[in-house]
Structures are given as C-alpha cells and as structure tokens.
Amino acid sequence: MTQVERHAYDVVVVGAGGAGLRAAIEARERGMRTAVICKSLFGKAHTVMAEGGIAASMGNVNSHDSWQVHFRDTMRGGKFLNQWRMAELHAKEAPDRVWELETWGALFDRTEDGRISQRNFGGHEYPRLAHVGDRTGLELIRTLQQKIVSLQQEDFAETGDYEAKLKVFQECTVTRVLKDDERSETGAPPDRRSGGKVAGVFGYVRESGRLFVIDAPAVVLATGGIGKSFKVTSNSWEYTGDGHALALLAGAPLINMEFIQFHPTGMVWPPSVKGILVTESVRGDGGVLRNSDGERFMFGYVPDVFKEKYAQSEEEADGWYTDPDNHRRPPELLPRDEVARAINSEVKAGRGTPHGGVFLDVSTRLPAEEIRRRLPSMHHQFKELADVDITAEAMEVGPTCHYMMGGVDVEPDTAAARGVPGLFAAGEVAGGMHGSNRLGGNSLSDLLVFGRRAGLSAAEYASGLGGTRPAAPEEQIDAAAAEALRPFAAGDSADEGPAENPYTLHQELQQVMNDLVGIIRRGPEMEQALERLAVLRERAQRVGVEGHRQFNPGWHLAVDLRNMLLVSECVARAALERTESRGGHTRDDHPGMDRGWRKVNLVCELTDQAQGADARKEALIGLRQRPTDPIRADLLALFDREELLKYLTDEELDR
C-alpha cells in the first residue's frame, strides 16, 4: 500500500481559472465542503491572460442587443456545429454572471450613464464585451479570488478556520481521477475502470513531491486547454491538456478535438515571445491589418457566408466605428479563423513582414493618448518585450495556437461528463459550446456560465448520494503512485534503453504538432504525425528525471507529457477523419465546408488496449462519428432560411 496524504471533501475542483473558481464558489455556497486544486499559485491561472472582455448581451451600449442576437452570433462563429443548447444557456445567462461580479467588487469600465461599458469584437453584431481596458481576465480572476477569500472569511467568523469549507491546494498536480470498483464489463482489464463512479483524485504536491488522495464523490474538471502541445502558442505552461487526459483515462469521451483556434494576432518577434497574444481589441478599437505592400488585405478574404455583413470598401469600414447603424463592419473583425487563414495566405504569398507576420497598425488610427488609455497592456508589452511603440509604429503579428474548442463531452444543462457519474467539466476543457470556432469574448462568459452550472450540478450530485460514497480501491491508488513516480526509475533496467529527456521530447512533440497538424492541414502530413506521435509515446515510456521530488520541473514536465501526447493523438486522429474545412479545422486537401459534416461530431475515446503495457505502438484513441442533436425549432427560427441553407442540409430544414 502506498503511503499518501489523505483528505476528504464533497466536491473537488481541478483548476483555479475562471471556470474552476466560479464552480468552487457555487459548490461552497450550496453547502459543500469544497477543495480547489491548481498547478500554479492561487490567482495566477491562465485566465489572467484574457484581454478583450466578457461577452454578454446587456445592451448597455447598443440597446438592440439581446440573448437571441448573441446566440445567433455564437452559432455563426462556430459554423453551426455548436452544441446549440449550450450556446442558448450561455447567451441567456451571461449578463447575470457579469452583473454578479460587480456585487463581488469587480470594477468594469463605465458608459457615460454609469453602466458597464461594452466594446466591439470580431463576430459580435453589437458592442458586447464588458471589459477593463485590456486586462479583463485579470479583473475576472482577481474578483473570483477575492470572492473565495470573502467566503473563507465568513467561515473563519463562524468556525475559527478559514479553510473549514473551502480550501485551495495550490501548486498541486492531479494525475488521475479515481473511481470505485463497479465495472459494467466483466472481464475488462483491472485498470479499465469503465462503469464506476467518481471516488476522488490522485495527485502530488509540486513543492514537496508528496503524493495525496482526496476522496470526493464529485470532481469538476476546469483545467483549460492544450496549447503547450504546439510550438507557437499564446498559452502558458499549465495548458498541457490535463483535464482532457484525465477525462479520457477515467472513461469519458471527448468531442470536437479537431477544432483548434489559431488566434490571428500573436507576436512574431522577438523569437522568445513568439506566440504571445495581441488582443483582438486592437482591431475592435480601430486597428487595421496591412501586408508589406501597405494593402488592407482583409477586404479580399470575406467568405460568401459573411458577404452581406461586412464592408466592401475602406470608407464604409471606417464609417462603422462611429455610425454602426449605417455602415457594415470592417473585415478585420471577421471571426478569428477567417482572419488567421487570411494572414497565413498573405505571408505565404510573399507579402509578409520581415519577421514573417503582417502589420497590425493602430498608430495611424487613434491618438497616442487614446491608445495608451484603451490598450495599456499592449502598449506595455510591445514596449518592454519588442522595443516597439505601438502609438508610433505598426506591430508585426501572425497566427498563434490559442484555444481548444474540443473537450469533454458534457450534458449541456449540468456540465456532467457523459458516461462517468460524478465527473463534471467546465470552461475550455469542456467541448461543444463553441462548435468549430469560438468568438472572442465568449470564453470568459463561458467560464462563468458553465463554471457556475458545473459547481451547482456537482453539489446536487454529491448531496444526492447521501451517506453512501464511492471509494477507490487501494490497487488503483498504488497504480497511480507508481505511474507518477516512474520517471525517477527510468533507465535503471538495461533492456529498456536509455532514459529520455522530458524537455527534448516536449520540443519534438511541439514541432510535430506545429508542422503537421497546425493551422493548415493535409491528410498525408497528419498520417505522418500519427506515426511520429506513436514513436514519441514509446520514448515517453522511458522518460527520466534527475534530482529529487522537491519542486522538480523536469519531473513535472515528464508527468504532463502523458497528457499532451494523449490529447495530440486525439487532435491528429479527428483532424485526419474530418474531410472538410470548418472553423478551426482547415484542410488544404478538402477546402470546402460540407453541410453533411455539420451533422457529425467526432468522438474520441480511450481504446481497450490503451491500458495494456505492450500496446504502446497501437492507437490509444478510438474515434467514432455521432450525429449532432437537431437544433430546436424556435432557435432555428431566429435565422433566415437562406442563411441556414449555407449550413444545414435540405432535409434538415424540411423536417
């Protein structure tokens, strides 16, 4: 039996970004003893990087806005592949979630009449994003963090212990979701835990290397995305697909894994900051994209489905900023997938900048003072990291891996993972909400809406169990401990071959994904990627680390590699299967969008042999097609039939 620290809670939330903290607040407010586990320090989650704002149809700046318009924009942005019920709930509940933040102390930028100001963003018909300059994510995380502290203060007043009902386990990594022993399939390998209920989590404390188990009947995954599998990314080191992998390993399916958003504007120079985000607000506030010929090239890239909505000339586009009722929007504000592809094409055609991007210019569009006020962190970021003064010169930008649309297959209303009782997922780790492409601003609202719903459902589920709680068998805990500690023993036995360096493997993985499953994809390249991933996976079995368990980054990376490899295989398999181009999935060999494919979700699951030791070269991920849920009639009625015909098949419409 492995020696581990043992705790017990009602609800465990894995991840302390926007979704995780909102879930934890909800669970605690429903009376649950709640634990939050995060890899970084409390308050450092990747949510702080969100810049633009929170999309919510409050109608403070343009009173024509409503949840229906927001719903429509979200579905269009996702090319109608969105789980429509999630998009509906999201559009309806986002305003309440924003207003609630104010009662917890958030200070958004204001309109003239003292309400929350809202800004324009790509794909949103009206100014919709509640914001604080360009540091909205920081405001969101800080507000939720301070709300957690205020709940802890209440608990302290009552019990004398700040952590009596809500505790943050910071700098800890969860490596397994534990389940009880119930198996639906007899004869399944002992480690194949399908059929059982969630019993808790297994993990380690990064600081000390101590192993721990938290017994809990409900686990909310809120671990964010997978960007660290790619070389050029806006994501932080935490984004190693942990929740995606934990769900898979617990027997839960993932959907839409082929859809990855490449944000059109990441920094391209200097090399060490390549990929860091340049907020879409630059374009929302008037910034324009130009190629090396000085041409505003986006006018040439408006796709047919959006032709009626976007300006045809610079005059018309420029008029929109002051008189949106009589002008169409500038094409720089097309959804992100369109802009990213356009930039990619310009650079490929030889019209790129010296460092392989395009120019994003706000210096000739707004007075310097206004730029500093509206875009303070962009001004700061370029000044400090690239020696570029954005009030006087153009930025160089190019696409960067930014957001994973795919994720855990969840029930829309409850955020419950399908197939694993007690498992929930919210935020970027959950799939469906954004379809094939997410609109800017819809991420922060997604975190709040579904973070709350996940916390609520987890609380209801946990209290519904009463006194009978699932317990993880000891051998599962032993196996998890052995798995976590394996890198320290690598290279010990001669027949295994030499130990592999985790940093080297990680770099090779990032290169494979960037080159072969990146923004523009081709069938043969992805087949090659799958072969190379299989080799990397085999080498990863021998990954070894020096030193001891106390705050050892090499070990941490070695553990995270398992997750990145699993998720990368999902991405490559799903991307190879989907022979069309849609949103965040662009196939050079299948450039068109196919209405038939809209009806299909690709579902990734762990194969049976995945747990076997000698199946290292076999596919770990199985893929199946599943029909999407038919969109409810009253929601379809929000669109013109002509528009729907671009996305839906004739028989779907005649139903």
Binding site: G114, Q153, Y162, E207, P271, I276, E546, Q550, P553
Partner: protein, 255 residues
C-alpha cells in the same frame, strides 16, 4: 545575434545553498526567464523556478536579478552588457523552498486579513451605477498582478522578520485603499472604517513612504502616492477630527 553569458544562479533549499556558475547561450531579444529555461533544458533539469504567462501578466516569475526585485519574464537580456555577470537569486523577504522558488504564503495570509468588499444594501445586481472617473482610482490598484515584488523590497519586512505579523505590506495596504476608494463599498455601514483599520490593524504606520514599492512595481502603479499617502491622510483626518471623535463616543454609548 548570439553570445555566451555568464550567469550565477542561487541553488539550494531550506538547508542552505550557494551561487552556481553557468555559461549559457543568449539570443537576440531574449529575457532572463528564457535563459533560466535554457539552463533547465540543457544543464540543470531540476532547477526550480515559478513562471506562468511569460508576458508580465501573472506575476509568478519574481526573483532578484543583480540584487533588484524583478519579473524575470520582463527583464530583457539587452539591459546587461554581454560580458556582465547576471546573478539571479530568490526573493529575499520570503523563506526559500528550493532554488528560485520561495514560500510566499505570508501574502496569502495577509490577503485573508483584509475584510472583503461589502456590497451596498438595496442595490440589486445589474443596477450598480458608477462614473468612469470614480472607478479609475481603484482600477489603478486593481492592475496589481500580485508579483509581491513590493512586499519583497519593502524595508519594513525585508530584513525585519519581526515586523511581519503586524504589517500587511504595500500590496495589501493598497488593497485597503482600493476598497476605501470603491464608489459603492458599504463597509462603513457595518461600522468598518477602512482607513482607520489600515492604521490600527494592518500596520500602515510602519510605512514611512520611501517609495521603494513604487519603484519596483512592474505595472507602474503609483503605490505610495496614490494609495498609501491618501490612506494615511484619511486615517489621520479621522483620528483628529473632533466630530468623528464625538460620533464614535456617542455610538459607543448606545452599544
């Protein structure tokens, strides 16, 4: 352009440690954190360091570079001469855990001691009305990324462990100022006077406005001028205001 730089990095743990020398490649445009990462990947796989966003937004990679508290991700290598030795040490005011990682729990303890925002009674969510000019004062302080460089550099606690219990530090005194200046904070209705409490409960009096905190703030927040000095003024005003004194007597009598 590439050159080889000479780094000294503190390696050790709670039992002690020392500066180790490294020769390491530096490329054009890199920052100190890039070099630390290169050391991890090539020479010292277990070198412990905190980092996260690598863009100056999360405040994780705080350390002391050539003795000055800084974010490693925002310290460009071009600020040093190519032949200059770059010395990286952990934050001095906090106990070392390992290498460049320190135990910053002091800050989380202090955060818990500052009473939270009190929502105004009778104003439902969605009905909050505030003017931009009124929220801007607190918004400046909410730019704080909690890198704790100000806490590290503040001489009240930097070499005076004994002051830590009584002193919240610049970051959390600024948090009190932020709430005190929040247009709708209703703490006063509950009998909490934030400025006075800063003085009495959180050690504002220890601060003698040397502005060290402001100097190291990577967000360029005017901590001393805009938060601490106004907070001191309000604390003093209340203390010596005869009407406030009388009011507090009367209230006490009622209780």
């Amino acid at each position: 352009m590439t050159h080889t730089a000479h780094f000294k990095v503190w390696r050790g743990d709670t039992d002690g440690g020392d500066l180790r020398d490294y020769e390491v490649e530096v490329n054009d445009g890199e920052v100190v954190l890039d070099i630390i990462h290169r050391l991890q990947a090539t020479q010292a796989a277990d070198l412990a360091v905190r980092w996260n966003c690598k863009a100056g937004k999360c405040g994780s990679c705080s350390a002391e570079v050539n003795g000055r508290p800084r974010l490693m991700c925002m310290t460009r290598m071009s600020v040093f001469e190519p032949d200059e030795t770059v010395t990286v040490t952990p934050l001095r005011a906090f106990p070392v855990i390992r290498d460049l990682v320190t135990d910053v729990s002091f800050n989380y303890d202090k955060a818990r001691q500052v009473p939270a925002f009190v929502p105004p009674k009778g104003v439902p969510a969605g009905e909050y009305r505030m003017q931009q000019v009124d929220v801007e004062r607190s918004q400046e302080f909410r730019k704080c990324i909690e890198c704790f460089l100000c806490q590290d550099t503040c001489h009240v606690v930097r070499d005076h462990e004994e002051n830590k219990a009584a002193f919240a530090g610049p970051r959390f005194l600024m948090r009190i100022a932020e709430l005190d200046m929040h247009p709708l904070d209703a703490a006063a209705d509950q009998g909490l006077v934030r400025a006075a409490s800063a003085q009495e409960d959180h050690g504002l009096g220890y601060c003698n406005i040397t502005k060290c905190c402001t100097e190291v703030c990577p967000e360029h927040i005017q901590i001393t001028d805009n938060a601490l000095i106004p907070l001191k003024e309000r604390a003093i005003d209340r203390k010596y205001d005869p009407l406030v004194w009388l009011g507090s007597r009367i209230r006490r009598r009622k209780e």
